[in-house]
């Protein structure tokens, strides 16, 4: 079902929160991660994901 297409801000923030959680939150196990390097990459990738995927979020809602 297309859910609240009249709330673009809410939808954008929900997507931003999703990407932020998956890439920047959540448990990390590897002690050997070079965090500084990984963080820069992920922030960059995160932005790209954000720009690319408002449509994907809508598909997710429809599929849910």
């Amino acid at each position: 079902m297309s859910e609240s297409p009249d709330r673009p801000l809410e939808q954008q923030i929900t997507l931003l929160e999703l990407v932020d959680r998956v890439l920047n939150k959540g448990v990390v196990l590897s002690g050997d991660i070079t965090l500084s390097v990984a963080d820069v990459d992920l922030v960059y990738v995160g932005l790209r994901v954000l720009l690319a995927s408002v449509g994907t979020l809508e598909r997710l809602h429809e599929g849910a």
Binding site: G26, V27, L42, V45, V49
Partner: protein, 218 residues
């Protein structure tokens, strides 16, 4: 290569959801913990749009099928099962503690966005008056953010509150809330929203407890 989605407690039947790139997800038991992973050939998994969303879908499905869940961050994949096991074994106690912290609790996200930015005060005749006005505006925003955050944090078992990085983003916070208290939390948000008609409130969730899934991360 092994990709880790989450560490679970009380996982019964695995939910019917595909992993990244359509990979099959499978459980891997380690002591009393259950890891949910998928196997991938070749190089490191890139956090593409599809991969990030697939990871999130698996975590969502697992959250509904477990008594406690620590979502894994999408980071480097593990070389093999031995590498995964040794990373988990290094943190067993921390992981157990983290699992019990999030048990029967969900995460709610809140962002509060301020009214459109006001320009510099027009009557600031001097540099000093301008600076004072600016400082007062910043202090006012901090007070307001605190007034919004505190009643919500009081309803939560835990909370994270990031310092506002953009002038209009007053609150960017996550709250760990008992599943039975989600409605009460939302009512409180609605009340704050009514009391501050000039601000925009966006309350998201319930999420799996991403923001509270921390082992000894150093």
């Amino acid at each position: 290569m092994i990709h880790l989605y989450a560490i679970a407690e009380g996982l019964g039947e695995l939910p019917a959801v595909e992993g990244i790139g359509g990979a099959e997800i499978r459980p891997r038991t380690l002591d009393d913990l259950e890891l949910v992973v998928s196997e991938h050939d070749g190089a490191e998994l890139e956090p593409t749009e599809e991969a990030v969303l697939a990871h999130a879908r698996v975590v969502d499905a697992l959250a509904a099928a477990t008594t406690a869940l620590l979502p894994a961050r999408f980071t480097r994949t593990f070389e093999d099962e031995a590498a995964l096991d040794s990373a988990v074994r290094g943190q067993l106690d921390n992981l157990r503690r983290a699992l019990s912290h999030v048990r029967v609790r969900v995460e709610l996200g809140l962002r509060v966005i301020g009214a459109s930015e006001e320009g510099p005060p027009p009557e600031a005749a001097t540099g000093r008056a301008y600076m004072e006005a600016r400082l007062e505006a910043v202090a006012g925003a901090e007070r307001l953010a605190k007034d919004l955050h505190e009643p919500l944090a009081a309803l939560a078992a835990d909370s994270t509150h990031s310092v506002a990085t953009k002038p209009r983003l007053l609150v960017s916070a996550a709250y760990l809330v008992e599943t039975g208290d989600v409605e009460r939390f939302r009512v409180e948000v609605a009340e704050l929203e009514r009391a501050h008609p000039d601000l925009t409130f966006v309350c998201t969730g319930p999420w799996p407890p991403y923001s509270f899934a921390t082992a000894a991360e150093t």
